[in-house]
Structures are given as structure tokens and as C-alpha cells.
Amino acid sequence: MNSKQVIMASDQAKAGYIKGLSVHTDESVLISSRVKEISLKAGLGLILFLAGAFIALPVASLFIKSPLDVTLRSLHDPVVIDALRLSLTTSALTAVTVVIMGTPVAYVNARFHYPGKEVLDSLIDLPVIMPPAVAGIALLMAFGRMGILGHHLNALGITIAFTTVAVVIAQVFVSSPLYIRQARTSFEGVAPEYENAARTLGASRVYTFSHVILPMASNGLISGAIMAFARSLGEFGATIMFAGNFQGRTQTMPLAIYTAMQGDLDVSLCISIILVAISFVVIAMVKILTRRVHKNAGS
């Protein structure tokens, strides 16, 4: 609306300027500027449509290729049930782990300066940029049975590779940066004045953190946790390399999609549809939560 007015205003200004120069071209200029405007709008509209269709078509194709009754039948397939159960539990566990471990890190990095902070910050962000396959082989080299730390653990009778624990470790590795980043921004959004006020009124550090800062940052923290949960649900590369592919134990939904696609396409599509549905819910939740954050910040 705003930009449209600007365009129209500038067109009028142009037209007026030209009017002053020549009376003859007045009408033709007006028409040509209108044609320009219409073609610009049509062009932009087409680009928007193509952009939407580019995303919508593949998603819609999943539903078109998998009729409802086939999807419902596949829901009873043990592969689907096991993958769904495993993915939901490991991702929830990952989200909880990331919140517990990540919140203090995010708070400290938001409020304090200390030597090596830049290094730690970069390290925390590294898994976002790192290709999942690299994460997978790196985790195997560290925690695998022959790995740097893994062979000591193995001597103690603890094995990690090819267990559900490995699935969670891979998920925490790739999704923790999403939460920590979001949490840090949320903490930075809480003005230090509130904290100082609480402290001068006699509240302890811990009480201030849990009763003043946490509630004010909570929407951001929750949306960060949801993002970490969603990233964990989608984790594929690191998991298949580090945790292996075993139904019910390490075969999460993306791994089940990959494995089933080579045999039973219906099962593959069914799991995909479930993941698409979950993705929609996640986007909706994050949008609602971040909107509230903005409102809070505004009021």
C-alpha cells in the first residue's frame, strides 16, 4: 500500500514535470507510465506466484501421490510407528537437553565479557554451517568404539555408536546452535535496568534470573526450543553415519523415509506427510510466539 502510493506519487511528479516542458506529450506520457506500472505489478505478481508454486507444488505432490486411505493404512505399519515414536522421543529429549545446557551459556554470553568468548561463540555456531555428513564422521571419530573418547568409554563398558543415545547426541550437536542463538538474542532483549532494579530491591541473583529475566525472555526461549526440536526431527546425515539405521532404535523418520523409498514408497510418503504436518505446526507456533515477543517489546 505504502510503496504503491510512493510509486504513484513519483509518477505524478514525473508527469507534472514533463507537463511543464511540453503540452503535446502529456497524454502519451501518462499512458506509458500507467503501462509501465501495470507491467511492473504483473511482473512482480508472476514472480510471487512462481515462488509460491515452487514451494507449494512439491509439498502438494506428496499429498496427491499418497491418497488418504493409503496414508491411513501405512500409519499402522510398524516401520512408521517405530520411526514416529523414536523421532518424537529423541527430539523431545534433545530439546530438553539443549535447554538445560544451552540456557546458562546463552545468558552468560549475552551479559558478560570474558577471554575466549569470541572463540566459544564461533564454536557454538559451527555445527549450523558444518555439513551433516562431516558432523556424522566427526562424532564417530570422537565417540565411536575406536574413537578418541569412545575407546576409553568402551573400556568402561559404555558404547554410544549405534544406540539411541547416539541419535540424541547427533541431534544435540546439530540443533543446539539454533536454541543458543535465539536464547542469547532474547536475553539481550531484556534491559539490564530490570535486573538492576530487582537486585537493588534485594532479590538474589538466582531469584532475579528465575523470576524476572526468564519470564521476560520466555517466548524467545520457547521458540528457540521448538526450532531445536524441529531441526532434530529432520536430522539425517549425522544420524545415519553415527547412529546407524535400525528400526525402533536408531531409525528416525528421515532415515525411515530414505530406507522405505527403496522398497515401499507408500510408507515413505506417509512419514513424509506426518513430517510436513509437524513442520506446519512448528512454523505456526514460532510465528505466534515471536509476534508476542514483538508486542511485549512494543508495549
Binding site: 575406536m146 549405534f162 546407524g244 535400525f246 527403496q262 522398497g263
Partner: protein, 279 residues
Amino acid sequence: MIYKRLFGAIVVALVLATSTGLCQEPEELTVFAAASLTGAFGEIGQLYENETGIHVLFNFDGSQALATQMVNGAYADVFASANTKQINVVKKAGLMNTSRIAIFTKNKPALIVPIDNPAGITGLSDLNRSGLKIVIGTDDVPIGDYTRQIMDKLENDTTYGYWYKVGFYNNVVSRETNVNYIVSKVALGEADAGIAYKSDVTPAMAEKIARIEIPEKYNVIAEYPMGALNQTRYPAQADMFMRLVESDQGRAVLEKYGFDPVSGPAIPSTAASNAKAAA
């Protein structure tokens, strides 16, 4: 100005490059081959390139993954599968040239263990011992299909039986989508044992893994069929490649990697060398 000229030169060069490419013989033959053929076909591909000057582009993966790719539109000239089931998937989709599909080699599943064999595995009878970590194939990949057939045989045998099979499957920690992943997990020492092919213990792998043969009466024979696809743009060159695989030369390479020959005489020499002799 300089940039414009440079740009023009690049365009001209590109046009020339593509047009000369179009005029010439194919520079590339695309071969989809079972993961277990990685070593042997790599070598045969080099022989083919030396003889014909045509580069062979390989896609090695589980035969079921390759079949899925082709059915969904991937381009290939030749498909070599590790079982008939997967070549039939492509055939059923109407994509194989059915006039010339033949078994070109045979293989046998085998037990593989890390070279230092930390679990002290000596044979099939150890595989149900609790606490072992075993890696096998998925149900769809040919090696997984063969493994299932072997387990069914063992289940019906009085020395092994149902509970052996249950114990075995309880030890399985991962199911891989192609045999190379089974081999690498055993070679890394992350698994105590795996069921792969006897051809997987290649000279290069011999320092990392050891092979334990599966007794004849419980084992199955893996037959590898190969054929050209209907869509091939280079039927003559595809045929030449298959003839090279089936020739004495090709057989020698396959046998070096531990494959077993098919019965019947080998094709005396390749079409390519025939053409050379004629010329």
C-alpha cells in the same frame, strides 16, 4: 570494454566446446552398478576407456537404490544389479532392453570381521552370542535379501534353529542401504561382524577386514544380471561395455576381486578390439 571482450571470448569458447562435443563420439557412458562391483567395475571402466577413449561414469549404490533412481527418471546406459529382483523392478517399469539381459558373474555372501577380530568370531555359530554388534543390509538391498535367505536356512536347520535366528537379529545394530557401508563399519571396528560378499575383502581391504566363509549348505549364490536400458543414447557403446565385462579380460578382473565366473565360454575378445583389429 575488456570485460565485454573477455565475455565474448568465453561465449565463443563455450559454443565451440559444446559443438565439437556434439560432433564427436560419446565421451561418457553412464553405468549404474551394484555397490559390490565398485572395485572390479572401476578397473574394467578404466580398461574400456583405454580401448575406446570413452569415459565411463559410474553410479555405485545398493541395486535397489539405483533401481528407484532409474524408475524415477535417472539416466543410465547400462545397469548391473546384484540380484535379479532389482533388475526386474526396472524391467517392470518398461525401461530395460529385454533382448539382452544376462547373468555375467556370481558372488557369495560371507561373514566379515575386523582384522583384529575383537569379539573372537570364528564362524556362524558365534553370531547369536549376546552383546555382539552385527551390521547387515536392509531388506531391500540385495545383500540384505541374501542374508535373510541364509537366516531362513539356518532357522530350518536342527543345529541352529529358531532361537539362533532370534539371537542373531538381536545383535544387529544397524541395517545399511548398500554393502559398502557394511564393509566400512566393520573396517572401522565399530561393528564386530557383518554379512557382506566374499568379493568385498579386496586386496586393499585385506589389511582391515578378514573373511570367514559361510558353509556351502547354508549359503546362497548371488547372481549378477546386467543389461542396457531402452533410453540409452549409445546402444553400440553400451553393448561394447557389456562385452568387455563378459570377455576373458573382464572375467579376469572380476575373479581377481573374488567374483565367481558364470558357466559357459567367455566372449573371446571385445568388440572394441575386434574393431581395432579390423581397422
